[in-house]
Structure formats: C-alpha cells, structure tokens
Symmetry: D3
Subunit: 285 residues, 6 copies
C-alpha cells in the first residue's frame, strides 16, 4: 500500500485505539489503547484493529518509531471476558470440531499480538498503572518497555483457570530469565516497577505517568533521528536470531548486511564523523 493511502486509512480512525502524531515529534506515531472506561480491556475489535494500525504505519516511511500507551488510570486490564467467552465455542458441535475452531481463533489472537514484532519499526511501550494478563502478552512483544513507578505487572491467566496462550509464556523467559518467568506465571503475583526493572522486563522507570509520557516520547524521538535502515535491521536481526543458533544468526546478519552496508547512511555516518557533525540519514522504509 502506498503511504498516502495508508495515511488516509489511518485517518478513518478506530474504535478501540487512537493513532496520533504527537506534537513536534518528527517520525514518531503514538498508538493509544483507548477504552479507559474498560481499563483498556482487550476486545475482539482490538485484536483486529491493532494489527491493521501497525500494518498501515509500516507502509508510511515517515513513521519511524511507534509509542504504545494506554488512556485512563491503567495501561491494560487484560483480555475482555466477553472476548474470551466468544472464543470458546458453544455446546452443540462435537468436541473435535469445537476444538479445531477454538484452536484457529487462538491462532488469530496470537497473530494480532505478534503483529508488534512483525512491524519493522521499533515499538516502545509506556506502561502506567495495571498491566495484567493479555496486557503482559502485549508488552512482551514490544521492543522497549518503560513504566512509571506505580505500574505493576501480573501474569494472571492461571487465576482464570487457563494457561496463558498469547505469548507471555513464550517471550517472557528470554526477557526476565526462565526462573523468574515461571514463578510469575505460576503464582500470578504482582510484579512492581522496581523489581520489573531489576529483572530486565523494563528498561526505564519514570517517577510519574507524566514523566513516563515525556520520557517515552523522547526515546522515540531519539530513535527517529537515527538511520532507518540501521534501526530496522537491528530489530529484524535480533528477532530472527532469537530462533537460530548463534552461528546461523551470524550468517543471517552477514547476508542481510551484504546489501545493507551499501547504504548511503553508512557513507553519511562516516563523513559526518570525520567532519565532526551530526549525521543526517536518508534511508526511508
């Protein structure tokens, strides 16, 4: 899709999220979870709107970095019970048919969360207040996680009588270590900001929701000034390497860079460095 079309599509708006360009933030787009009255519970609409928004932003070269935030007092209260119930098929059909249908629905929800990783641009998430259940699945797929000091995290699925199935159990171990991840998932206990930072779940803790908002946007602006080819290649290489041996990962980035190093951004960076000035990168993706 061409950028203008994508912009036009974005402009039509969404029912569960809002996508804006924050003031004076060249290259930065912000996606708001926008159902504050439901504490941004993740509804079926959300699961279709989020991947669509990210896919549109991916087509817009001037969208270089995405910030994900939540409206209202809490970032996210998890998957909405009605969405969960809608997922489980009603009685009549035979067990096999219901099971197959259920499996496909779960795969669709998973793909919605994985859209954050599929998006080539980095996604910075800013968490305030509660981030529970499906909210943790969501942030585990983001690239940089920040929060304010009142935030807490809870892998709450066992308390609903189920094993989490939207990515937390798969992504959290690589982020906080296997031991921390399984303890959080089994106990469903609250993890507060300081411990979350110490475990590696969170990169930066800000002292208030306001500072969080400013801080996350500042990180985003900094990334937006960097080379798009470099930023995107870094995100892609790390996600790809996660599923390969070290040697396979090295070979992958060598193949990738065999074209990417012929970028004019590298030339510009070298020139700027010799001329002792800030580089101005051109690559647009």
């Amino acid at each position: 899709m061409d950028p203008a079309q994508a912009e036009a599509e974005l402009a039509k708006g969404f029912s569960t999220i809002e996508v804006i360009r924050p003031d004076r933030s060249e290259g930065v787009y912000q996606v708001w979870l926008n159902r504050p009255s439901r504490r941004n519970a993740l509804s079926l609409d959300f699961f279709s709107e989020l991947p669509r928004a990210l896919s549109l932003l991916d087509c817009i070269p001037s969208a270089r970095v995405i910030v994900l935030s939540g409206r209202g007092p809490h970032f996210c209260s998890g998957i909405e019970v009605s969405a969960l119930v809608a997922t489980v098929p009603s009685e009549p059909a035979d067990v096999a048919t219901r099971s197959e249908s259920l499996r496909r629905k779960i795969l669709v929800l998973q793909d919605s969360i994985s859209a954050v990783e599929k998006c080539r641009k980095p996604v910075i998430v800013a968490v305030h207040g509660a981030c529970v259940g499906g909210g943790v699945d969501l942030i585990a797929a983001c690239d940089i996680r920040c929060c304010e000091q009142g935030a807490f995290f809870q892998v709450k699925e066992v308390d609903l009588g189920l094993a989490a199935d939207l990515g937390t159990l798969q992504r959290l171990p690589a982020i906080v270590g296997f031991g921390n991840a399984i303890e959080l998932a089994l106990t469903a206990r609250r993890l507060y900001a300081a411990e979350a930072k110490q475990m590696g779940l969170i990169s930066r803790v800000f002292s208030s929701p306001e500072d969080l908002e400013k801080g996350a946007l500042q990180i985003a602006r900094d990334l937006a000034e960097k080379s798009a080819v470099a930023i995107m290649g870094t995100k892609a290489a790390m996600l790809k390497s996660r599923d390969l041996t070290v040697q396979q990962g090295l070979e992958h980035i060598a193949t990738w860079n065999s074209a990417m190093l012929m970028s004019s951004d590298l030339e510009e960076a070298v020139k700027a460095s010799l001329e002792k000035r800030k580089p101005v990168f051109f690559s647009k993706l």
Copy 2:
C-alpha cells in the same frame, strides 16, 4: 497407576527421602532429602527413589504441588563420592566398552534429575545452608526456587576434575543468563542468597530456615488452590516452549488450549469473577 495404589506405594517409605503431607496443607506434599548425617549427599539410591516418588505423586490428584526440602543443617552437599566412583567402570574391559557403560549410567542419573521436570505438578524447592554440585543440578530442574539468607550455591564440579553433567550447564544459562552461568561454572565460587536472587536463580529469600519452611509451604498452598489444569498447563507450556522457536511455542499452546479451554475451571473463574467471589476449581489431574 490408580491413586490408591500410588498412596500405598508411597506409604512404604524410602531410604534417602521422606514424603509427607504437611499439616493443614490441602493438596501439598513435601519431599525431604533425608540423610542429614551425610549432608544429604546424593547416593545411587536417591537417584532411583526421587523419580519413583515423583512418579507416584503424579498419579495422585490430591497432590497438586510438591515442596522439596532438606533435613539437617544443609540442603545438599552434592553427589556422593561413592556414587561417582561406582559410575566409573573399573579397569579390565576395553576403553570403548567402559565408555559406553559409563555413558548409559550418566544418562540414568540425568533422567533422575529430569524427573522433576517430567512431573506435571509444580515443584517448589526450599534451600537452606549449602547447595553444592549435584544439589545445583537438582534445583535447576525445579520450578520455583526459594532460600534463606544463609544459603549458598556452588557449581563445584570443576573442582572434582570434571564438567558437570547432570543439567546445571544446560539449565542454568536460561535462568541466570549465559555470562553468569559460565562464570559460576568455571570459577566454582560460592554464590550467596542475595546475589542469587539478583541473578534470577532464586525467587524469594527468607530471613531464616524457619521462615523459609513456612514461606515455601505458603506458596505451595496458594498454588494448590488454583486450577490444576491451569497450573499444569503453564508448567508444561513453558518447558515445551524452551526448546521451540517462539512461533512453534505459540502454535503448541494454541493446540493445547484448543481442548483445555473447554474446561469447567474457566467457566467457574468467569462466574466467580462476575459474582465477586473466590472461584472453586474442580479439575483434578
């Protein structure tokens, strides 16, 4: 094996461990390393009794959570030298035959430790005093690790002139990070409780052995009140995902949950949540 048979087998007792039901702990069983005079050194008998005990507990639906503790002043002083020596075959045979025999014996010991992961119920380990060599192999296979502040951990195998082969080198990197793991394994230095917590090896540090005992049982009781289907599914999914790519892990839990979400526990959890009461889960495994 049916539950009554398994209970009867358990009742016969063991020589190196003791299995009890702690007072007032519905659903919780405790396995004691029970050779305090040998600082709970792991003997050949232990390596056959532990997997048998866990396999029996796995057949008893009312055993929902297992706590592993050590009698006497130390949790575990590692593999007993006599067991180690018994493993290495004596001279006469040719090198190839001895080597093949040795390899099979190591695989048997490894399987004994891996029985902790194979057990569907979560295993909480409570470490006090020393946890050395084979003791670290053992706790690395547990699901939740607690200790008291006087506890220390030592990957001591290099000091015996060998590379650890019961799981520490394989499981520790995912728990504490690759850099920490290799440093501990090469230097064989003592790791104390506070740093162990900071590295992610330990989830909770208690201030005394008594508090540890109480605390570990309390965590166990909390888990025992949760949905068995949810707890077991969470453990299974995380262990399975450890060996798969993220995408394969997601597909696995989707297939798993395609049946498990048709559980009456989910229904009960949703109902209880609407009725603002504590859920009472029914699933028994």
Copy 3:
C-alpha cells in the same frame, strides 16, 4: 602444531596485539590490544592476528587461561573506520558481485571474533574505559567479563547507519536478556559498570584499572590451577548446549563425559578430598 613451534610463532610478535606471560602466573597468558594511540580500534590486521594468536595458544598446553586487556586509556573504540570502508566494495562491479564479496568479508570478520569461543581455553576479558561497537562484539564472545568502575559499554553500530554484524546482536540476548539487549542495541546508549554488572554482562567490577588488572589475573591464576580437562569440558559443554535443546545438551555432555570421566584428574580429586589436601591436576590440553 606442536607446542614448541607455537611458542616460536608467538615469539615473532604481532602488530596490533601483544602476547605475554605475566610474572608469576603459571599457566596464564595475556593478550593485549596494543594500539593505544588509536584507542585500540579494531583494524583489518587485528582481525587476522587475534585468531592466529588464539589458535597458537590453543596448541600450548601450558597456556591454560587467557586474559584479554587493552593498552592505553580505553579498552576498545570499535572497528576502525578504514577497516569498515575497506569492507564495502567500490563502485564498478555489479551489485550482486559486490554484495557477495561483502558478505564473505563480513563472515571473515565474524570468524575472527568467534575464534575466542573456538579457543578451548577460557578467555577472561578485563575492560577499562570505553568499550564501544566492535569492542562489545569482542567481549560478548569471551567467557568471563570484568571491568573497572569507570568502564562503559556502547552498542554503537546504529549510529554508524548499520546493524551490528559481528556477534553482539546474537550473543548479548543470552547474556543480559532479550529486553535489555534490544534496548541497548536500538538506543546505542552508554551502559556503565554498575548496571552492566546488574544485567549480567559483567561478573566483577573492580574499583580501579589497577585493581582490575590484578583481579583479572588472580581469577586466571585460580582457573589455571584447576583441572584442564574439567575447565575445557565446561566451556565446550556450555557453548554446545547453547544451540541445543536441554535434552540434546544433556545427551551431549553424557557422551563427552563417557570418556572424560576416565580421567586421572577425577581420581586425583577424589584422593585429595579424602586426604584433605589440595589436588594437583595433571591433564594438559
């Protein structure tokens, strides 16, 4: 190559590094990055000299542990711009030919860094001052990382308009966690000693460059006194297990130890332990 030949080769010296035997350190060799005027920038010569030096040391049984340090005020300022530019082929040829050539050059540089892992003896790195870009690629391949409190680390490649391709993106996630790694790689921010320790990148922080020098050598001397078979087997098993499932890693070390446990070092360790004396290990590799 036999040890005497390897010693003779080493004695010829190198242009970008210096290899010495520090006083009174039986079994310890030290490799110095030795271009202090260029802040030890990694030149094309370095990329061929490092693997040659390590390969020679690997042939010398009395080299049991290697310490890697940097001369001058900084450990390493990263890949030299001239080396980077030399890598990228000049215009005339068609894009495919240039790309293929570029890819092969990257693979050569990667292999140079991976030589640290290929070396059977443990490599301890001591970082002071700046460790930037290619410097981080280098230390990520080492076995034990120490630094002094003024040291800082920077995954700086995005600021050169490229994705790091010498191993940082592949090795860092297993060391500091995936979340920390991607944040460091995207923001290119400085990571100081204390946070580096907390993340698991660094095992020990010393209070000054002098203490660092002494401390790193002391760790090396301690390792040099341990069983060579045990130390080398531990390094090999952990690197191999990194790319296997836990079960496959267990099977690998069982196969390995099926021969290695027939070592006289194990016998000596057991004897020494019974006789309550320090063991003297014989294995030489």
Copy 4:
C-alpha cells in the same frame, strides 16, 4: 468469514484463475490456472488471487478437497518476466533501500505459494505439459502431485541468472532427496514424468491429459468422503512435524489428538466397522 460470504466472494471470479465445482463431485472444488495464452505464467495478479481463493475455500466446510489444474496446453511456464522485473526496484534509490524493498516483495510472493500449505484442506495438483520455474515452486507446496505422461518439470531459475526463491530449493529436497534436488536445480534439466514418479515427486502418472483430469478428480472425491477432521489433522501434523524433531512431532500430534480423538467420526468409524458398512463422517471444517 462465514461460508455464505465466502461463496459470494468466490462467485465474483478472478482474472488469472477460475474456481469451479466439478460435476458430481461432492466436496471437491477445482482451481484452474486460467491464462492459457500465456501458458499460465504467474503474474502479480495471480500471486494475490491464489491465496485469496484458497483462504475463501478454507472457510467453506463443503470444500473438503481442492484440485489445482492448468488450462491450455501447459500447466505453467513459470513466473512472468514482467512480474519478475516489477519486483526489482528501479535505479534511483540507494542500494540498501532498494534491497529492503526487494526483500519484502519476495516475502510476499513466497507467502502466496505457502498459502497452499496454510490451507487446511488437501490440495491435489494435476500437471500436464510443461511445469517450469515458478510452476515447480507451486507444485512443491501441494499435497498430492499427479501428472500425465507427457508432462515435464524444470527448475529453471539458474537460466534466468538467479537462485530460485519461491520454495523449490526448500521443499524439493524432502520430496525427491537432497541429491536429486540439487542436481535438478543446478542443471535446470527437464525431468520427465517417469523419472519424476521414480524420484517421488509425482504420486500417479496418467496416460493422457484426459485421464489425468479424471484421475485427479477421482482421488479428490475419495478424499472428500473421508473424515474431514482426520484428513485435515493428517495434513497439519505432517507439515508441522517437518520442522520438528521426531520426538517433538510425536508430542505435537499427541496434544492435537487429545482433543481430536473425542470426535464423533471415530465413533462412527468404529460402529461402521463393526456393522460392516461404509462410515458416514460428520465433521465439517
């Protein structure tokens, strides 16, 4: 999408393919490559229409089996040169940007071919005349391959100065063996029906295009009478197991069947077998 909607969408037709229900073939749909004047060369439109058609058929329970055939004298002459040229970006942009754009376009074309595997229903392909280049990529993703005795196959990409990138190099080795696959891909030679059968590329060779048409439909009708849950599970399990170890594949199908065996189709099959009658399966997917 619900079945009626999907049927309506299908009814709107396509420009490069035609989807029909062959006479008297309950449960069978046929997709025709429908540009005989271009020898069914694969155009950009085709690459978007094929996955859409398959995805619609996947939503229609009465579409139990799909037959893929080509109109005109040849099955498929490969990717259309104009599509290939459109893929390669024109000069102006810098190499890195062009390369990244090219990579994304290739991924889209690959996904189009992989849609055949993603479709849960089995796809039987019937090849007559030439099947060249992209045509081989396409049939390698199908489940059952038949041809008439005049058919031939050619992995022709090297003759276009490129390595095949739509799946042949990845899927062919598992089908015909690694040695046969690499020989075919390097030499670009023609492989005729008899040798194709002998190599395992083709399951059935018919003596004429007419017999092929009848024969492929007959196989399809036979599959359509079988249990949908069983057929789909078999396709899914084999594709999933292809990327897992044997042990992981076994565990996957055990998890899958833990729900699917509670199907009424199994009950019906057992009953029918006892009553010595043909079963009538109910599952609809």
Copy 5:
C-alpha cells in the same frame, strides 16, 4: 539389570509376543507378534510387553540383533479397536480433564513404539501379508525392513476418522520422501512390496514368507558377527543425527568416537585385515 536376571525375566514369557533364540543363530533373538487369531492386532498388553521385552534384550550382551516377525497369515492388522476405545475416556469428566488424560495415554503408546529406537541393538522387521495402521507405525521405528512379495502396507488411520499418532507421520517422510508419505497417509491406499522397495520403505523383498524368514535371519546373523560397538554406534549416531544439523551431527559422532575408537575391535579389524583373515570382535554391550 544383569544379563542372568534379564534372561530369567524373558523366560517367564509374554501374552502377546514370544521371544525365542532361533536355531544356530549366535547373537540373534527373535520377537514374534503372537496373536495370529487377531491378525496380531496391537492390544494394550502388547504396548506394555514390547518395550519390556526390548529393554530386557538390551541388557543381554549375547543378544546382538533382534528380528521382529508376525505369527499367522498377516504381520499386523493395526491397533486393536478395543485398545483405541479404551484410550478415549468416557463421558462424565469435563473436556479438559478427559483431554489431558487422553494425551497422556497417547504418549504412553508412542513411547512403546519408540522403544524400538531406544533399544541399542538393531531391529530387523520381516513383514508378510498385511501391515496396516499401527503396524506401519511399528515398522517405521525399526532399523531394517524386509518383506515378502505378497506383503502390503496401509497407513489406514484416516479411515478410522483420525490422524495417525504413533509415529508414522513423523518417521515415514524421512524414509520414503515427504511427497510419498503424505500421499499414502491421505489416501490410505495399499502399498505393495515392489513399490515399497522402490520408495525406500523396504530394503529387501523375498519371494515367499519362507524365504523372508530365512533371509531376515541371515541378515541378522551377518550383523551379529560384526563389532557390537560399531553396530550400536552406527544406529545411535544415525538416530541422533536425524534431529541435528549436519554440523551438529558431525560433532556428535566425533565426541562419541573420541572414546569408541580406543576399542580393541578396531585393533582387531586392522590386524585381521593385515593378516588377511576374518576378524573376531570382542566388544559386548
């Protein structure tokens, strides 16, 4: 277990199989499927007796090769319907509990078949008449497959309304190619001896059941005269390599052979070759 104990256990006999030492066949044991009146249908008893017999044979060094045959007119008619029905839990419990129970039962049956691979000694299977459903799962796990010209094979599970879950779908693709395997599994058609040989499923086709019996035992006697260390190492290396990359498989066999090459069998083979006589191997496993 020591060899004498194992022999004594074997001597107690089994209800579904018979284990004998065929006349004049030093080192060869034969396991007969022994329910000819049920066409050797695989009952629950069989699934527990087969792994026990193989495990006992594995403890007896004089059992160097195992031949698996079927009594009566057919090799095996597949899993017994009553066993299948016993696997599927009856109604009362909730779906999740039933599903979890079912999954565990399938895993037990799978392990029973996999016991053929776990047995260190080679297993030669001799198929006459029908080999259907579970029979194909069984032979796919054997090492060498022979048949007589009247034999046929049928992956019949889809006709029972289910996807095969005892190993056929996982093991067959590596044996006959992915294309042949999926066609056989989807169509459930009969595969006769000649085509089975051509596909690589069968190594040798004999002209009658009598010749098959003689021929299979002759192959077994030939293997029994070879070096036990070599034969067992070959089986182990190939099964292990199946789940590794080529490079990992090479490293595995290098580690394995680092002990095994110090065998006296190699010495004897070299000596015998120089002395132009038949070697007499000593290794016993």
Copy 6:
C-alpha cells in the same frame, strides 16, 4: 587471496591429488585423486591437500565448476589404515587426554571433507570402480554424483569395528532416505550403480569409465556457462536450507536475493530471452 596468487599456489602441485584444467573446458577445473597404486586411499596428506586445493580454486573466478575424479582402476578405497592408526593416540597418556586429542583429530578430518560443501563452486564427482568407506564420506559432500555402470559403493566402517565419522551417517539419509541409509551402514553391503541411481545417490550412470569422464566434463561445461551468481546462490541456499525449517529457509533466500536480484545477469537473461539468443553472463565469483 587474489586469483593470480591462488593460481601460483595451485601450480606448485600436491602429493596426493592433481589439479588440472581439462582441454577446451572454459571455467572447469578437475581434481584427481592421484595415488592409483594405493587405490586412492585417503592419507593424512590428502586430508590437508584437498581443502587447500578447494580453497584456492574458490579464489579463482575462472574456476566455475570442479570435477572430482580418481586415477587408476578405482575411485577410492577409503581412509588409509595408517591414517586411521595415526589418529588413535598411543597408550601412555590418561584416557581423557587421549580422548580429547582423538576428538580434535576427527574434527579436523571432518572439516577436510566438509570443505567440499564450503567451496562456493559446484563439485561434480565421477566415480568408477570401488568407492568405499571414506570414499562414500567424500562423495556424500559433493553436489552432483555420477558413476559408470561398474562402480559400487560400500559404507564399510562397521567392518573396521567403528561407526563412520566423516559425514556418511549425517549426509546419506537426506540423499537416499533414512531407511536405505541405515541399511547400507549396518550391513556394509555393496551398492551397485543401478540401485544407487534408483535410490537417488547417483544422478547419472554412464556405460563406461571413458563415457563417465566425458559425461562429467560435459555437465561441468554446461554449468560453467550459466550465471555464476545463480549457480553459487543455488548451492548455498540448498545447503543452508538443509539445516533450517522451510519458513526459515525461505526467509534466508529472500534476504540473499534482496541483493542478488540486482545482478546484471538477471537483466542479461531477460534481454537474451526477449532477443531469443543465448545469454552471456558476466558475474564472476
């Protein structure tokens, strides 16, 4: 190394092989196993000369295809007994040290064989007479295998009392199927040309050694006229994909082609096709 240097090095000659440019074969080099009096047994010198020769040829752009043949009446009688004996360390040292040394020697021999795969240019092997033991390891690493009708193949290692460790057990299953491979490796039987062709080990059988010689060179000349970028990319992609999932392999070739499709060879191929003339490719690697 630059081409002229490489040519000069090649001109110095080898003791176990001979490298020539056959008459009138633009772009083709031929490597002869050149110890006919020893039936081309593989000596330690061979294991160091082969990888050196291939590495030199890899630096010479005019060497586009390599043909590997054997002088004298047989292609190769396997690893020389003296080389094998030299590998196994003599008595004095302790078992662990000998084992570690042995392991490293095996890895070196393996790397020598793997050099055939590491060479970017395709290697066609022409087998006449016997190809036994190490000879099979060697040809299994080649890209295209031809033979004359009197040739035979024998995985003979078990008859030497050992499991093959130079690649046969790892590479053969993908070429001839797992069942055929394990049968050949366990029985050590002779496999003759016709069956070798039928199994997929051999691509072409010629009627005499003379025809084989001519035929192999003709295939080589045909490949030499094709685009170097395309041929090398095809070999690289297939070898890489062998160790990846299909999806990962697709992603790899997409990344690779993102640069390679900007080749002038593709342009030339398209132009030549429109102008109905033979393309003349320019890429040189």
